[in-house]
Amino acid sequence: MKKLVAILLSLAMVLSLAACGSKTPASTEAPKPGESTAAPQAAWPKGNIDIIVPFKAGGAMDLSARLTADYLKKYLNVEVTVQNVEGGANWVGYNQILAAKGDGYTLGFANYPGQVGGYLDPSKKNTVSYRDFTNIADIVHDPGIIVVREDSPYKTLQDLLDAAKGGKKLTISTGGGPGSDDDVLIRQINSRLKIDTLIPGGNENDGEAKNALLNKEADAQACNVSNYFKTYESTGQTDSVRVLAIFDANKQVLMPNAPLIDDLNIAELKGLYSSSDRGLVACKALDPAVLQIIVDALKKAQADPDFQKDAAEKGMGINMLFGDDFNKFIDGVESTLIELAPQIGWDVDASKYGK
């Protein structure tokens, strides 16, 4: 009897120790913006690194972060742990990243345009912007695509657009609501063609968007290369689809035979690129010396064939952008969203972002 009670109590204790043992990423004192911590450390890192992922475990964001964590671990020789911090439509996690110390032991993962939409939407009352983060590197670049069912009457993107221009209303399922990359792509096509017949489906996630395509509620689906790279080549499967276009400037390793938007010779849509990007970020006060060490490690990973192979298996297109290039990319995403804000229904004060 006593033994059992003891076992039970020790179980409770072990569990609570396990919870306490993992470093809590939230820091009580938020460093002032621009303030850099201490002198550059001689040998960084001395301890384990946490990566805060503001999304639940198992999703695309989480997988990208875990892949990055594996290779940071390989090249920095310390444990790198992914911490999934959910809640507040991802802003609980983002706020924890912003509040972290600048010592580099707490990093974070962010997605675009998700993060930008999160602060542009005035109803979310976020006062920060991408400028409040140290944007270390864009890691996963997942271009937008439009797909139809194999039995669809629309054989090419031109077919689909001709029908839409002819006044036929078409529902395009999207893996996210207003402001998500899929939704924004459809709105951009509408505005470039000066039509309003393509209706973004507003589905909650890619799985639901795919269901809507397969159950014939949607005429097409806007999604990303990673969603279909595996079934793309195979035919005869229930979920086989036809890729009408990749909205990216470059050929995709994961979908080598799918047409790029610029090759389709649709004048209005020339240069219309869309993607979901996921990158490594940190708080503004990140020590510049630490930043350099992380960037060097990522560059080593980028050149590592194992990293490339792992990423390809998970359907992640790797296109690393560092520092200013990364900031410029996010700025472009921000400009696009501000431009479309009235359509999405966001009352954005563009001057706040210097636009």
Partner: protein, 511 residues
């Protein structure tokens, strides 16, 4: 279906799957036997632990915990007159008197036999119904999902048959709480500028609060009032039913199992409801309904077969449509998503190996549960002797830990505490908590699919309401909803005319 079996069987016979199965069965039994720790809590606590496991082993372990905990709950119901999980409340009525008569081991044996049969039948139902339903789900669009959610909400009427006003109160409370957060069109509702509320109220901490923390508070509250000492029944009697007894019980067990599977499939309605329905069924069919409550085997066999049959049934809508068939299944859904498994047709095509491994393993878990119960049942009874004063703080700690572990967001700990108080007050005044969870799951779902349906309807220049009748499956669902709405009314009229003829039937005590 059978072309996937080979891979699934290979998957099942890996060390990790076998280990997951064993840990799930034994652990589930202990969790179930401890009053206050339910299957829902056990799964919520273990989901973060499963992250490092193979997906098949992880889901298998969680499913095994589910069925085994529901069985384990009967042990404390029989021995100390306290249900180990809410599903075993009905078992107390005859199980404890049996134990007082010196037949405690026999009662546990009957419970084991019935639980195994109920569980196995539900596993077979899962194996046979889920794959074709998953294929059918490819034809389900947003209107169908919307109507399924509405259908589930109408069940509040039957969940609250005793006091409609209180049931509706709980339902509306759940719907209101479900509104909090970002709406499908991206606007925020009832967030009061608090960023932590943008994502809405997280289901797992809310359920931990409503069920576990409120249970702890009720136990603490009762202790202060009436210091009664609960007598632990002695372990005595034969374990297995006699051959003649078994032949007499088997029609009842089979019938209760089928009813249990059906209740499991219904969204939100779980083992607690099924066990009462099973007991009533047994009473209505018995030639001697007056003997119920005096310690007869039928009073144990009926609820225990029904509540275990719920487990497999509850997994059917979960795996095929992403609609949890019980509150425990709702927590289990979190386990699926953590491993990147989205419910729907993909589970039965792309991830068929994993899914069939889980289903076959679930079948095996129900059999293993019987073997473990048979071999170790008498030792497991020790678990029910853990004194309540020790149990209360342990469960309180585990509850708070579980709500933090599910999201690593400290706000969820507060949500669990707040919902613990709400659950305590509601239960104290006899307001059922099950409708809250039902509304919390199905409210946002109906909201989301209505928005999507509106977008689909737009292309035909229709409103959502004009669009619904154009879809045949939707019309069938509307008929089901109308039937479900009027069923309690109908059954009331029937039973009152029945009562006039045959005298009053004792209404089931509310859980």
């Amino acid at each position: 279906m059978f072309e996937n079996m080979q891979g699934a069987i290979n998957e099942l016979f890996t060390w990790s799957s076998a280990l997951g199965l064993l840990i799930g069965v034994v652990g589930g039994m202990i969790i179930g036997a401890l009053p206050g720790l339910s299957a829902t809590m056990g799964i919520a606590l273990l989901i973060p632990v499963t992250y490092g496991m193979r997906p098949s082993a992880a889901i298998l372990m969680l499913a095994a915990i589910y069925t085994s905990a529901v069985y384990g709950g009967s042990i404390s119901a029989i021995l100390i007159h306290t249900p180990g999980t809410p599903s075993s409340a009905a078992t107390c009525l005859d199980g404890y008197p049996m134990a007082q008569k010196g037949e405690s081991l026999h009662a546990i044996g009957i419970s084991t036999t019935s639980s195994v049969i109920g569980g196995v039948i539900s596993a077979i139902a899962l194996l046979l119904i889920a794959p074709p339903l998953a294929r059918l789900s490819l034809n389900f669009g947003s209107t169908e999902y919307f109507l399924i959610a509405v259908f589930g909400l109408t069940l509040i009427a039957s969940l609250a048959a005793d006091n409609m006003v209180k049931g509706l109160l709980a339902g509306f409370f759940g719907l209101t709480v479900g509104l909090i957060g970002l709406a499908a069109d991206g606007s925020s509702r009832y967030t009061f500028g608090i960023p932590g509320l943008l994502g809405g109220i997280n289901l797992i901490p809310a359920m931990i609060g409503l069920f576990s923390i409120s249970q702890v508070m009720i136990q603490a509250d009762e202790r202060g009032k009436a210091p009664e000492k609960k007598e632990v029944a002695k372990i005595a009697g034969r374990f297995l039913p006699t051959g003649r007894e078994f032949v007499r019980l088997i029609p009842l067990i089979l019938e209760c199992s089928v009813v249990g599977v059906f209740i499991g499939i219904l969204p939100g309605a779980g083992g607690d409801i099924a066990s009462w329905v099973g007991l009533n069924l047994a009473k209505n069919q018995s030639k001697h309904p007056e003997l119920f409550g005096t310690g007869i085997v039928e009073g144990v066999a009926a609820p225990e077969s029904a509540n275990n049959a719920v487990t497999g049934g509850a997994l059917i809508p979960l795996l095929t449509l992403g609609i949890p068939g019980s509150s425990t299944a709702a927590v289990l859904m979190g386990g699926l998503t953590i491993h990147g498994l989205a419910p729907g047709f993909e589970l039965f095509s792309k991830y068929a190996d994993i899914t069939y491994c889980v289903i076959l393993g679930f079948l095996a878990a129900n059999i293993l549960m019987g073997l473990v119960g048979w071999a170790a049942g008498r030792y497991l009874t020790q678990v029910s002797k853990v004194p309540i004063p020790l149990l209360i703080p342990c469960i309180a700690v585990l509850s708070l830990l579980g709500s933090y572990a599910s999201s690593r967001n400290f706000a969820d700990v507060w949500i669990a505490i707040i919902f613990g108080f709400i659950g305590f007050v509601f239960r104290k005044y006899g307001v059922p908590t099950a409708p809250i969870v039902l509304a919390l799951i199905l409210g946002p779902m109906s909201d989301k699919y209505m928005y999507q349906g509106t977008r689909i309807a737009m292309k035909n220049d229709m409103t959502f309401w004009q669009y619904i009748p154009t879809r045949p499956i939707s019309i069938v669902l509307i008929i089901l909803i109308v039937l479900a709405l009027f069923a309690p009314l109908l059954s009331k009229t029937i039973s009152s005319s029945y009562q006039k003829k045959h005298g009053k039937i004792d209404a089931a005590e509310d859980d």
